[in-house]
Symmetry: C2
């Protein structure tokens, strides 16, 4: 951020009165521009013992598999956002159930909220951001071709819970390793 | 938003190519400025059968009681944010436990994440945003002086669960009534 979105003047970075961390502040109109984490909402769409995954038609991670998820929009609930992303990426209609994972992605200031959900029918197919959409049982999951660590971890926990038929909210933090930014470590809370 | 925070030119509102909703787009550098919901993170700080509340020293709802909570910051987990707000508003140290409520506040594009937590000790007191901080058992809660519907609903559910000693994640939407913007309706999911 270089300019004030309210008046167009240049912004400075400094700690506002009564605050304790640096913010972008307009030098002219004094508006403080806060920057906060964004929510990514999505589904774990279930059909019998299978889960629906989408193969990405966009960067990053083109060609790899993921759960349908994306940025939550203003004007929708997190559950509505999760269902909307599933419709957009997989043309699939779901009944959204309980929140299953809450993951903090510190290195990109995102919080993932992934919900268990039930496919309403088997009428699905790739949206414009997907190359392919398919159902996978646990032993069929392409573990080496999963797009994001948060999805890999969610699927691992999900099938662990599925085996004992007891699901509980899983929460944690995905930490990028400082000595190798392509590798990640998961801290479960 | 009137000006581009990247180049300072004026922004227009239109639907970007490949998108399906209006966004603020810079007429010069073509940057799309997305606006997404913000997360409010906080604690339900417990001590025996009591919960810690803060009486607000700031607007809105000056003088009314609330749970310690505030906007999540970049660079922290949602649990760390909840603990930080509790330290800032009540000078209280907590052990953050499971997520207890996930509430969508559609009318202000906020998602509340409130965590069960345990006070580490009884050394607490008002921070700069609080007039007073105190512990309340269920029958002592000032129900008519609670600052926000999301806090009222969280406390109601929490003590309901406390009575049966079984807590589960509660999720819902707080809807502002169209015929009276000072009244709200809660939809539990």
């Amino acid at each position: 951020m270089k300019y004030c979105s309210q008046c167009g003047a240049e912004v400075e970075i400094k700690v506002p009165d009564g605050d304790n961390r640096p913010r972008h502040i307009c030098a002219e109109c004094l508006t403080v521009h806060y920057q906060n984490p964004k929510m990514v909402v999505g589904c774990i769409p279930m059909w019998e013992d299978k889960v629906l995954l989408c193969r990405r038609a966009i960067e990053p991670r083109y060609g790899l598999w993921t759960l349908p998820a994306g940025f939550m929009e203003n004007g929708e609930t997190s559950q509505e956002g999760a269902a909307r992303e599933t419709l957009e990426e997989a043309n699939a209609r779901v009944k959204v159930e309980a929140l299953y994972t809450l993951f903090n992605l510190l290195h990109i200031s995102q919080v993932y909220l992934l919900f268990k959900s039930r496919l309403m029918d088997l009428d699905f197919g790739p949206g414009s951001e997907s190359l392919e959409v398919a159902l996978f049982a646990e032993q069929e999951i392409p573990w080496d071709e999963i797009a994001f660590p948060v999805v890999h971890e969610t699927l691992r926990l999900f099938f662990e819970d599925a085996r004992r038929n007891h699901y509980e909210l899983r929460s944690g933090t995905i930490v990028r390793l400082s000595d190798n930014p392509r590798r990640y470590h998961t801290q479960l809370l």
